[in-house]
């Protein structure tokens, strides 16, 4: 790790100002950033810590939606009664991220800003059609993820909260990479009045994406049988040490079927 200046603002506006002025980097739970800094893959000269910004913490209900502050820890989302009752699939997803230590430090804002191609939250955000709130605007899930580790965020923009509409049915199934235990493939399925969404993480060469062929089949018939035999196109899927695109494509279909079964049970 290289030396850096550490800033600890108290509010979102102060954090945004520090970020713009210092050209530094935000740090939330540090669970992605600190590792990268220790390996000297990231070398920010200024770190703006969001840990002291109280307004970023917490979970609240707004009508039919659950709104989660960007600084809320994975463990808090997993344990939240509101999340568990409105969107149990989201609580379960948060409870399956990393290990206990990671869940007690990592934040939803950090995870989404980082947009690791194998992270779990992006699947929930895209799979539920959530809205990202920043200090400048709101961004629809479909417009937020721009490829591996890329998002629609501007350099001096920070996520303040995420609003998740409660679906009728939803489930997430994560098939773990045997080494990292991130998603080798993770499939989030939801159904509500506006339709069916199937979001896939871990598999796409440009990060999280919606599996439209599966969505169309499920829109007609929301049952595990509806996806059987559907071949997901391998062209935009990853091949790496741990799995080929072919296997990932197979898993997407299998996991989507299992997620539908789980959502319906």
């Amino acid at each position: 790790m290289y030396a850096f200046e550490f800033h600890r603002p108290k509010s979102v506006s102060e954090a945004a100002a520090l970020l713009a002025k210092s050209k530094g980097k935000l740090i939330a739970g540090g669970q992605s950033l600190v590792g990268a800094m220790k390996l000297r893959l990231a070398s920010p000269e200024n770190l703006v810590d969001l840990g002291g910004v109280a307004e970023l913490r917490g979970i609240k209900r707004e009508g039919n939606a659950i709104v989660i502050g960007a600084g809320t820890r994975h463990a808090e989302v997993a344990a939240s009664k509101d999340v568990q009752s409105s969107i149990p699939a989201l609580a379960a997803l948060a409870g399956g991220i990393g290990d206990r230590q990671v869940r007690n430090m990592g934040t939803i804002g950090g995870s989404l800003a980082n947009n690791d191609p194998a992270a779990d939250y992006p699947a929930a955000v895209l799979g539920l059609g959530a809205t990202i709130r920043t200090n400048k605007r709101t961004i629809a899930a479909d417009d937020f993820f721009k490829g591996m580790y890329e998002t629609a965020l501007a350099p001096d923009e920070l996520i303040t909260a995420v609003s998740f509409p409660a679906p009728k049915k939803a489930a997430y199934i994560k098939f773990r990479n045997p080494a990292s235990r991130f998603a080798l493939v993770g499939v989030f399925v939801s159904q509500d009045a506006s339709g069916v969404r199937v979001a896939v993480t871990g598999a796409g060469s440009a990060g999280v994406f919606r599996a439209t062929a599966l969505e169309q089949a499920l829109a007609k018939n929301f049952s595990p049988d509806a996806v059987k035999g559907i071949k997901v196109d391998t062209a935009k899927l990853n091949t790496d040490l741990h799995a080929t695109a072919e296997y990932r494509a197979h898993l997407i279909t299998v996991l989507a079927g299992r997620a539908v079964a789980k959502a319906s049970s």
């Binding site: 045997p178 080494a179 040490l241 741990h242 080929t244 072919e246 296997y247 898993l251």
Partner: protein, 795 residues
């Protein structure tokens, strides 16, 4: 493993580990915890290339960086005439020629041969300053083509790793009677053939390697703290072969060590360099590996490609075994790298079976990869994997039950001379198998399989009836076979005037619990509480000598040395007691901590004798020296032969290829057992590592560039608790016939026996789907592809 109730210090009691209070309360002292006044820090600049010429190194920018004390490269070590790292075992090839032994310089001499090879060392006031300066060292490389796979390395036209090793061949070695084996095949009713890979592993001890050296100008002595499994061997190799230092001026201390699994047996470049540099800069120099360095620089394990053939008669009796193995040695010969695929491998190919003719050839290659050496089991897991896979395959081809084919071929009469050099002293393979079948409830398996089938899952049962050879010995025979070190152990018993005891052992504990087990041995023998015995290890300054801990040798060899020293303590104690009790020495009996005149109630406790020895007022000073302190060296007459049966039960999800190990039963014969709890812990750890190899672990290099692709836990899959079932373990005892404790060793058995059991179980589960073969690790995609009948594509 339900031990009968035993007195707290008795042999056979599950005495709580004496060392755990220290470890669990953060009181352990590891090398990195040692800080000396004026300490400086070393950072090694390592090769980013698998194979390259070093054209030029420019130190000037690095030297000017803040805090930098010195920068040394291969030119500096050459100027000081530093030797290369030695190999401890000379292998002779099929023609009787010595193996190719190319130089292994601690800092590269003009060429780097694997990613992570040491190019330079930066010594600075702080670790970060050394690391910062490392980025400023300018090294011009001329990158050369690399070869990482041993099979490829031996092909004509492959990039050449060493000028002195044509075709990258270190040796082509053989063992066994080729003509007799060919004759056996000629009369075979059936021959089973397999081609299998033993996947390369990275050891991953929880404590990374570390070394801290201190040179004392006042008496020209050195002290080296190092995370190492055998400090005396480290000192001997370093002083005699590399640095040319007087051995008595170097003290090597291996304090608490957080796991080794073999990877800390060896003399490494970093240990040598910090020792040498501590004199040059006249400051203590500390180096601690970070995890990424550990992946690149700790010696790796396994990496064999094998073709094997088993000849049988019509009843499935084994007639002959033919094995051809290609072994990857890595870029250089590590300390015991040459012995692992030869004398620790070929000699084990008889297994538990009466196969009368065996012939094995091993072709050992240099490649542009990290050196490969002993890793938990060292050669024996590779042999067991070949044998237990081919035996299971043979059973399927012969339409024989998996247990039945083994029973038909078990050795039942002992001692037994194998056709591959070893002489088994004792064993009872049938009883282990029977007990394991009960433990695994093999009788209930068909019902469990049918139930799984209803859920769409495939169940399978896999066997492994393994043997291992521990406590490599005797020294003279091993010496004749090329070993360049002794294989004995030393022990010293220091009885203090009040009767408490300090034991000095040349064995080294880095997780094995010697401080408890050895104390039990001494306490039981002397009839004193286990609390009155402390065990000291890991310091060349405190014990006479030692060969350290590897190859499950500690209790069988180190424990035996302690017993020998105790013989001397008892003999002298009898002389003192005879004087005190005014009786003839021959009438004195020693039992339950008391010296008694036979047939009388006249006695003196052990503590009374100890006191007399040190306060010799009433003492036969004319005939006997005062004091009660004895040392013994023990050189075993033979190996010990732990053996057992492991049975794995798995459930496969055919839709995804996911394998779940639902049951794992192990019945092991470790001879007499000192502490059942510690033995069970060793078995659990070994099983976790063996299952890790079977299911998860795989070291992968890029075939073109030679980059390590599995250089972190993001890509190198370690086993975790949730991947493992709750093990069922038990023991069956046949005491070793040739050491005083009747013990055999238990450290490696789990890692040796379990991989074939797991793979055989998955093949058993999938055989109805037409699957005949699988390679480790059994990743979901590999299993899924096998089910689909597709070739494996992933690494």
């Amino acid at each position: 493993m339900n031990a009968p109730e035993k007195a707290q210090s008795a042999i056979g009691a599950s005495v709580r580990r004496k060392e755990d209070y220290r470890f669990l309360t953060g009181g352990g002292k590891y090398t990195d915890d040692v800080t000396l006044p004026g300490q400086s820090y070393a950072y090694f600049v390592r090769s980013p290339h698998a194979h390259a010429k070093i054209l030029k190194i420019n130190k000037s920018a690095a030297l000017k960086a803040p805090g930098v004390i010195a920068v040394y490269t291969g030119d500096d070590t050459a100027a000081d005439k530093m030797g290369g790292l030695p190999c401890g075992w000379l292998i002779k090839d099929v023609k009787g020629e010595p193996m190719k032994e190319p130089p292994h310089p601690p800092l590269a001499q003009g060429k780097v041969r694997h990613v992570g090879d040491q190019v330079a060392v930066i010594i600075a006031e702080t670790y970060n300053q050394a690391k910062d300066a490392a980025e400023l060292l300018e090294v011009d490389y001329d990158v050369l083509p690399a070869v990482v796979d041993a099979v490829e390395a031996l092909k004509p036209g492959a990039p050449q790793v060493h000028d002195g090793a044509p075709n990258n061949r270190c040796y082509l070695w053989s063992l066994g009677d080729k003509a007799a084996t060919d004759a056996a095949f000629a009369k075979a009713h059936h021959v089973t053939k397999i081609d299998i890979t033993n996947n390369r592993l990275i050891p991953n001890a929880i404590e990374p390697r570390a070394a801290l050296a201190h040179y004392n100008r006042a008496d020209e002595s050195y002290t080296l703290y190092v995370a190492n499994q055998n400090p005396h061997v480290e000192r001997l190799l370093m002083t005699a072969f590399v640095l040319g230092l007087p051995e008595h001026k170097v003290r090597v201390i291996a304090p608490d060590v957080g796991g080794g699994f073999g990877s800390k047996i060896f003399l490494y470049a970093e240990d040598v360099i910090v020792t040498w540099a501590s004199k040059k800069v006249n400051r203590p120099v500390k180096w601690t590996a970070d995890r990424s360095e550990a992946f690149l620089s700790d010696a790796h394990g396994r990496d064999h490609h094998t073709h094997a053939e088993l000849a049988m008669d019509k009843d499935g009796k084994f007639l002959g075994l033919r094995v051809k193995t290609i072994a990857n040695l890595g870029a250089y010969l590590s300390t015991f790298g040459s012995s692992v695929p030869t004398y620790l491998y070929g000699t084990l190919l008889a297994g538990q079976y009466t196969t009368p003719a065996i012939y094995v050839e091993v072709d050992a290659a240099f490649t542009n990869t990290t050196p490969v050496d002993a890793y938990r089991g060292a050669g024996r897991p590779e042999a067991t994997y070949v044998l237990e896979r081919i035996v299971s395959q043979a059973a399927r081809e012969m339409n024989l039950d998996q247990a039945e084919i083994r029973r038909r071929n078990f050795i039942t009469a002992f001692p037994y001379q194998t056709p591959v050099a070893l002489m088994y002293d004792i064993g009872d393979y049938k009883s282990c198998l029977d007990k394991a079948q009960k433990l695994a409830d093999v009788a209930g398996f068909p019902a469990r399989r049918a139930e799984a089938e209803k859920r769409g899952k495939k169940r399978g049962l896999g066997y492994s009836t393994y043997i291992e050879a521990c406590g490599l010995a005797p020294s003279n025979i091993a010496g004749a076979l090329g070993a360049r070190a002794g294989l004995f152990e030393a022990g010293e018993i220091r009885v203090h005037p009040t009767g408490s005891v300090t034991v000095f052992t040349g064995s080294h504990s880095h997780g094995q619990g010697h401080e408890t087990t050895f104390a039990q041995v001494v306490a039981a023998r002397l009839g004193i509480p286990v609390e009155s015995v402390d065990v000291v290890h890991g310091d060349t300054g405190r014990m006479p000598f030692g060969m350290g801990t590897y190859g499950s040798r500690s209790i069988a060899v180190g424990g035996a040395a302690i017993m020998k020293a105790l013989d001397k303590i008892e003999a002298k104690g009898k002389k003192i007691a005879a004087h005190l009790l005014e009786a003839a020495e021959s009438d004195i009996e020693f039992k339950d901590g008391k010296f008694t005149v036979a047939g009388t109630d006249k006695s003196v406790p052990f503590g009374g004798v100890a006191f007399s020895a040190y306060v010799p007022h009433n003492y036969p000073l004319d005939k006997l020296e005062p004091g009660l302190n004895e040392t013994a060296f023990y050189d075993p007459g033979n190996f010990t032969y732990p053996a057992g049966t492991h049975i794995a039960e798995v459930e496969v999800d055919p839709e995804t290829g996911v394998v779940q190990i639902v049951n794992f039963s192990a019945v092991d014969d470790f001879g007499n057992i000192i502490n059942p709890m510690i033995v069970e812990g060793q078995v659990h750890g070994g099983l976790a590592q063996g299952i890790g190899q079977a299911m998860l672990e795989n070291c992968v290099y890029d075939q073109e560039t030679g980059q390590l692709l599995t250089g972190s836990y993001m890509d190198y899959a370690m086993p975790r608790a949730a991947d493992l079932p709750s093990f069922k373990v038990d023991t069956h005892v046949t005491p070793c016939t040739h050491n005083p404790l009747g013990v055999k060793g238990c450290g490696e058995a789990g890692a040796i026996g379990s991989p074939p059991a797991v793979v055989n179980a998955v093949i058993d589960a999938l055989a109805p789907l037409g699957v005949k073969h699988l390679e480790m690790p059994l990743t979901p995609e590999r299993v899924w592809r096998a089910i689909q009948g597709k070739p494996t594509k992933v690494a």
